[in-house]
């Protein structure tokens, strides 16, 4: 009866040049190419692989956002997920949406769907928060295997090899658990056209955060978004004395 929830986020494609809105309230997203967060693709691939190994029964792809995120859910369905859940969030709520709100939604869904595993990407490439997986585990009081580069299910336990600063750490956690996928976990498969056509027939359930009892109020207010400062040209010096003098002059030493 094991069911896995996989979170997928629709983000601006990594190759697109980001432009800050003229009013500095955010970045331009209208008409810009979006795609599935690369770490979410890895998470979907891992879940589908587990299903193919017959270790879990059903994979449910979940995304939160406006209507456009259904495209991202469809891609997840085309990669092999069984059904999708679209939690509708739009307008101001969507702009203010962050890991806290998402983790509350996932915690509520996990209880509702009786999931035994939640697999998320380790972080999203637009905000780089790296918080949703950890917060979800905390809200559910579940063990967490983050930065996973290898996942093995062993009965009721999961062995996770984690990529940490010092190297690799192997831990064993009991299910239900939250895992977050790191880069080397797997190579995601392509969503091929026949699978996209089949995915059109798979179900995507629609719901609002209020249906799950989640309040979307944000405790964070974005004051201003700016471009990173333009890199200044370097200065070449002839001798070490020149270097020391210049560093002294601009206050570095």
């Amino acid at each position: 009866m094991s069911r896995v929830l996989v979170g997928v986020k629709r983000v601006i494609d990594y190759a697109v040049k980001i432009r800050v809105k003229p009013d500095h309230s955010g970045v331009v997203t209208d008409g810009v190419k979006h795609s599935m967060n690369p770490f979410c693709e890895i998470a979907v691939e891992e879940a589908v692989k587990l299903k193919e190994k017959k270790l879990i029964k059903e994979v449910v792809a979940v995304s939160c956002g406006p209507t456009q995120v259904t495209e991202t859910i469809r891609t997840a369905l085309a990669m092999g997920c069984d059904r999708g859940i679209h939690v509708e969030v739009s307008g101001k709520d969507y702009e203010a949406m962050g890991p806290l709100q998402i983790s509350k939604i996932f915690a509520a869904l996990a209880k509702k769907e009786e999931a035994s595993l939640i697999i998320l990407g380790k972080q999203a490439i637009d905000d780089d928060c790296n918080q949703t997986g950890q917060m979800t585990a905390a809200l559910l009081d579940w063990p967490q295997g983050t930065f996973a580069s290898e996942v093995t299910i062993d009965g009721e336990k999961v062995k996770v090899v984690r990529e940490i600063d010092g190297g690799l750490e192997t831990i064993k956690i009991s299910m239900p658990a939250v895992l977050t996928a790191d880069l080397r976990l797997n190579t995601p498969r392509y969503a091929t056209l026949p699978n996209i056509m089949k995915a059109k027939k798979k179900k995507i359930a629609n719901m609002k955060p209020a249906d799950l009892g989640v309040d979307m109020v944000s405790r964070v207010e974005v004051l201003r978004v700016d471009e990173p400062p333009t890199r200044l040209a370097g200065v070449k010096v002839e001798t070490v004395d020149d270097l020391v003098a210049k560093l002294r002059a601009n206050g570095t030493i």
Binding site: D13, A15, K17, K33, P188, T192, L193
Partner: protein
């Protein structure tokens, strides 16, 4: 692999081609298959399966090559104005007559509009016919043209040229549009009407019936490594079969190139001649913004024998945006000419610079466009399919407008096909439907009249006085006689044959980019948002890997390193020290097709890369 029980309505039309697919469907005379082993001097560059066939490759032994197939009534290749107009028209007719029609459209860009690039001043004639209520539907035609300015530029000065009504460049009644957004809107209208649109999937191969008629297309394979071997994630493309297949790939499509040879469609017309258009979008100082203003120029920086001109349009969509660009005819003779660097230095002209000063560049892109017009129109129908839009090439060159004719050609194709595909009894000699009525309809339509009347303007530039001779000819024969003169001038021939050897030409001294008005190539390419999966065979395939250094570099100083607007081609020294080699940075490609057109050795064959790769234009 795919059980039948999962399919409902489509099951009856769905056939699973459970045949072992031959590596290539195209008959052998289309490509010269050569397994080019790397010699000590020429490192191996090309690994694409169209040049290195997989059926003889030991790495492909035992790999499942079966393809899933599906059937539609009409398949359209290309989600641009022509393809979408054809799809929309088909569905409009089907819905009106309450007939069922499955129309599938495949597009190589990741989303509709992402590979669309144009000036553009749209003439709403075709749109009025397609959607008379386009305004209510929210079509993004927000900027009616209010002023029209034409200049002849010299290095420092500007000579104004009066824009008299009746001249082809006159834009009264037209709209400045961001064509990418317009195409996106067309895509939304098409989806609402029930067209199945599949962005992110490129049509890589034309499929043929036993009798030689077109059966449909196959999408690209995925998961092939850079060296041509299969990866773990390898999957075959899918076959889409149709009664009729419409090819709307835009200017110089790669499948169209194959079809011209297969069906001999170009035997009675001149070879197509092209230009490259480079475009940028700028956010300018509000004080300089004049929404609705259209500026065109000819002259500097191009010399009188190099065809080309510029545009600068002030959009009216909330922000002070201008779209500007330079078009350079690809029949230029100097191999050192770099259209990109001409464009960058044009922006420094005082008349242009004064608009851009204090502004910010937010987008960049490039695309080839047709210049041949009437003389270069091929046969557009063949058993099983037809060509629409800029692919055969209906652009009105002096007006520099091709969108309205592309849309109309798509609509005419749809109107010709509809009665035949919905007829109870598919009376056809060939397995793929042949619809010659489309070509007859074209000849009776306003597209034909329009192209006929301007047919002599572009070729009139081939005289000693170049640009000035052409302007005089246009003034006399077009403005006064409306193109009714009884003769038809010829173009100069293939663009790729026009280059003079490097030693007969002088290198052009281009100024360094200043980072405020002009920029370097690589930062421009980054702005186009282009990207491709890195680990795939380069899609700029060479028929012979040794030709670039032996011919292009030796005689023409490697013109591809100068004309490519994305920095794909670089001649770098060999690691051994002696000599050079060609490095192809396929990931930079913006799908402009210029290399396939201008390569003097005609050795480069552009094929489609994995779907969803390429530029990420937003409203270009």
């Amino acid at each position: 692999m795919f059980p039948a029980s999962r399919y409902s309505i489509q099951a009856q039309r769905c056939i699973r081609a459970l045949k072992t697919v031959k590596a290539e469907h195209a008959p052998p005379q289309l490509y010269t298959w050569r397994w080019k082993c790397s010699s000590a001097v020429t490192p191996r560059i090309t690994s694409h399966y169209t040049i290195c066939p997989r059926d003889k490759d030991p790495r492909w032994e035992g790999v499942e090559m079966e393809r899933f197939a599906d059937e539609a009534d009409v398949v359209i290749v290309g989600g641009g104005p022509a393809g979408l107009s054809a799809a929309i028209r088909l569905k409009q007719l089907a819905n009106k007559q309450e007939k069922e029609l499955r129309v599938c459209l495949v597009e190589k860009a990741s989303q509709i509009g992402a590979h669309t690039l144009s000036g553009a001043c749209l003439e709403p004639s075709a749109l009025n016919e397609l959607f008379p209520d386009w305004k209510e539907r929210g079509a993004p035609l927000n900027t009616p043209v209010t002023e029209d300015v034409f200049s002849l530029l010299t290095k420092k000065y500007r000579i104004p040229v009066p824009m008299l009504p009746g001249l082809p460049m006159n834009n009264h009644g037209n709209y400045i549009v961001r064509l990418g957004h317009f195409v996106r809107w067309l895509g939304e209208q098409a989806e609402e009407l029930g067209v199945e649109i599949y962005p992110g999937y490129a049509a890589a191969e034309v499929l043929f019936h036993e009798d030689g008629s077109v059966k449909g297309i196959a999408t690209n394979d995925v998961g092939i490594a850079k060296d041509g071997s299969p990866k773990d994630v390898f999957e075959r493309g899918m076959e889409l079969h149709a009664k009729v297949t419409l090819f709307g790939e835009g200017c110089h499509g790669h499948l169209a190139k194959q079809l011209y040879r297969q069906f001999n469609l170009r035997e009675n017309c001149e070879p197509q001649t092209y230009a490259i258009g480079l475009k940028e979008v700028w956010l300018i100082d509000e004080k300089k913004w004049r929404p609705g203003r259209v500026e065109h120029s000819v002259g500097w920086p191009l010399n009188r024998n190099t065809y080309g001109g510029s545009f600068l349009y002030h959009l009216n969509e909330g922000e002070p945006l201008v779209a500007l660009g330079l078009v350079v005819g690809l029949d230029y003779t100097n191999p050192y000419l770099s259209p990109f660097r001409e464009f960058q230095r044009w922006k420094h002209h005082p008349f242009i610079a004064k608009t851009l000063e204090g502004g910010n560049r937010i987008a960049y892109g490039a695309r080839a466009l047709n210049e041949g017009g009437y003389q270069c129109l091929p046969k557009v129908t063949f058993p099983g399919g037809m060509l629409i839009g800029c692919s055969p090439g209906f652009m009105n060159v002096p007006k520099i407008k091709g969108t309205h004719t592309a849309m109309k050609s798509g609509m005419l194709a749809a109107e010709a096909i509809f009665p035949k595909v919905t007829a109870k009894d598919l009376a056809s000699e060939t397995a793929g439907l042949h619809v010659p009525e489309y070509e007859d309809n074209l000849k009776k339509s306003w597209i034909w009249k329009e192209l006929y009347s301007v047919r002599n303007i572009r070729p009139s530039f081939h005289n000693y006085f170049g640009l000035y001779g052409g302007m005089v000819y246009t003034g006399v024969f077009y403005w006064i006689l409306r193109g009714k003169e009884p003769w038809t001038l010829k173009h100069a021939g293939l663009d790729s044959a026009q280059l003079k050897p490097a030693k007969e030409c002088t290198a052009i001294e281009y100024p360094k980019p200043d980072g405020k008005l002009s920029f370097d190539l690589l930062s421009s390419v980054a702005l186009s948002g282009t990207n491709h999966e890195g680990d795939q065979p380069p899609h700029l395939t060479l028929k012979d890997d040794s030709v670039p250094v032996a011919n292009n570099l030796a005689i023409y100083d490697g013109p591809e390193q100068h004309f490519c607007p994305a920095g794909v081609y670089e001649y770098v020294p060999l690691e051994t020290g002696e000599g050079m080699r060609l490095q192809i940075n396929a990931q930079n490609c913006v799908h402009c097709k210029t290399c396939d057109i201008k390569d003097p050795s005609q050795n480069i064959n552009w094929v489609v890369p994995e779907g969803s790769g390429g530029p990420a234009y937003n409203g270009m």
